[in-house]
């Protein structure tokens, strides 16, 4: 499964990047390459780790104190 995932992403990236560079979008091509590397690394990480913590916990850590602060100001 992991092998299939890596091969699929690499083939898609190869086709997509060749068309971007052919149209002379050099800067866009490099950024796209960067995002492909992030996507590939993320997919491999997800495949290799069974239980990945949700990123929403990080959002909660930021939002919760703001909510508490506002509610205490409003005395609700």
């Amino acid at each position: 499964m992991l092998f299939l995932l890596i091969i699929t992403i690499m083939i898609v990236a190869w086709i997509d990047l060749s068309s971007i560079f052919r149209e002379r979008y050099i800067k866009e091509g490099f950024f796209s390459l960067g995002f492909y590397i992030i996507a590939l690394a993320f997919s491999i990480y997800l495949q290799m780790n069974g239980k990945v913590p949700t990123p929403l916990k990080g959002v909660t850590v930021i939002v919760k104190p703001i909510t508490k602060g506002v509610l205490s100001i409003l005395q609700l």
């Binding site: 898609v12 990236a13 979008y25 800067k27 950024f31 997919s43 997800l46 949700t54 990123p55 959002v59």
Partner: protein, 369 residues
């Protein structure tokens, strides 16, 4: 970034209506019934007025700098770096929105239609269409909206009409059985799902519209229509199932549709709601994804968003697989974190932007004078 695509106000209104209906039709009745019990329909009606005020605020902000999109407006109002920080926050919000909506589609299909299918398979299939649509651009998508809009509305209307015989008005009583604070809380929850995320659609307003198209009134009417539909479905769900069952199910509208039996000809109508809902959620997910790409291109100074579409699509699929561990977490997170988060993005941020933009305009005028 170039915004070389243009749509007209009618297409924008249709997109807004479907974005508002989006996930709300299926998910909101359950949470409204949990919070406001039999008064859930009052909460849904109250949210229409609050939503209209918020929409007027978005329209007003759009008209302050009509030639700029919201991300460019950020940089105009707050300067380059602070503006980029605001843009980054909006991009992260839309990425969270995209992955949660994608997870919801997957969960709904697995729970209600095809159990034992892996979540990844549904997410990959659905996101492939989104990525393809995004590559083709917003002009193509709004033409698709024009084709599908009558079908979505017709299918939802069928559900509403055929559920009327099963309604029991007693289920809506007592009229004010819940304290006003609970009703307001439920109303804010409804707004956080249907209205506050509309700020993402207003990133494009009015810079993506044809210069000759004007129609604030039609946009407001489109929004009112969507809210009316959400309200009707909430009323019907509670009067058919009762508030206890409505709050018990994650997707009560689907369960309500399962109960429809019209003569012998029409049976198993629940798939109808599944089709119309999946179609409307497609456009909601498209907006979330498209806005995140526009924001990324603006942040990185790219000429076009298309080169980053496919890798970002892969990242959103990955995020959707881990975003919610289960539906219990999803419900809790939506209630505790999504509501304040969407208030920050959908109400506080536009007010800050409005003040920033006004101050900047005054400073510029004084500088010129």
């Amino acid at each position: 970034m170039r915004m070389d695509e243009k749509i007209n106000v009618r297409q924008f209104t249709l997109l807004l209506t479907l974005f508002t209906i989006g996930t709300s039709v299926l998910i909101t009745p359950s949470q409204l019934a949990t919070l406001a019990k039999e008064s859930a329909w009052i909460a849904a009606s109250m949210s229409v007025f609050g939503g209209l005020l918020v929409l007027l605020l978005y329209l007003f902000i759009g008209h302050l700098q009509p030639h700029l999109n919201l991300f460019q407006h950020n940089e105009y109002a707050f300067g380059k770096w602070l503006g980029k920080l605001f843009t980054l926050i909006i991009v992260l919000f839309s990425l969270i929105g995209a992955s949660t909506v994608l997870w919801t589609v997957g969960d709904f299909v697995i729970v209600q239609v095809i159990p034992e299918t892996p979540l990844a398979a549904i997410c990959i299939l659905f996101m492939t269409i989104i990525v393809y649509g995004t590559k083709l651009g917003i002009e193509t998508i709004v033409k698709t909206v024009e084709i599908f809009f009558p079908w979505i509305i017709m299918l939802l209307t069928i559900i509403v009409l055929f559920s009327i015989p099963s309604m029991d008005i007693k289920q809506l009583q007592p009229l004010w059985g819940q304290p006003i604070s609970k009703v307001v809380e439920a109303s804010i929850y409804e707004l956080s799902i249907s209205t506050f995320p509309l700020i993402l659609l207003f990133v494009l307003y009015p810079s993506v519209l044809n210069p000759d198209s004007k129609g604030t009134r039609s946009i407001l009417l489109g929004y009112l229509f969507a809210e009316f539909l959400i309200m009707s479905i909430t009323v019907i769900a509670i009067s058919v199932l009762g508030y206890k069952l409505t709050s018990h199910y994650v997707y009560p509208t689907y369960v309500m549709a399962e109960r429809i039996e019209f003569i012998v000809l029409l049976d198993r109508l629940e798939v109808v709601i599944a089709i119309s809902w999946i179609l409307s959620i497609f456009f909601k997910l498209f907006i979330y994804f498209y806005i995140s790409l526009i924001g990324i291109s603006q942040l990185l100074g790219l000429k076009h968003y298309r080169p980053v579409t496919i890798p970002m699509g892969i990242i959103v699929i990955g995020l959707a697989l881990i975003i919610y561990p289960d539906s219990i977490f999803a419900g809790k997170w939506n209630k505790e974190t999504w509501v304040p988060l969407s208030i920050i993005i959908g109400v506080v941020y536009p007010i800050v932007l409005l003040c920033g933009s006004k101050i900047k305009s005054i400073l510029r005028r004084n500088h010129r004078g």
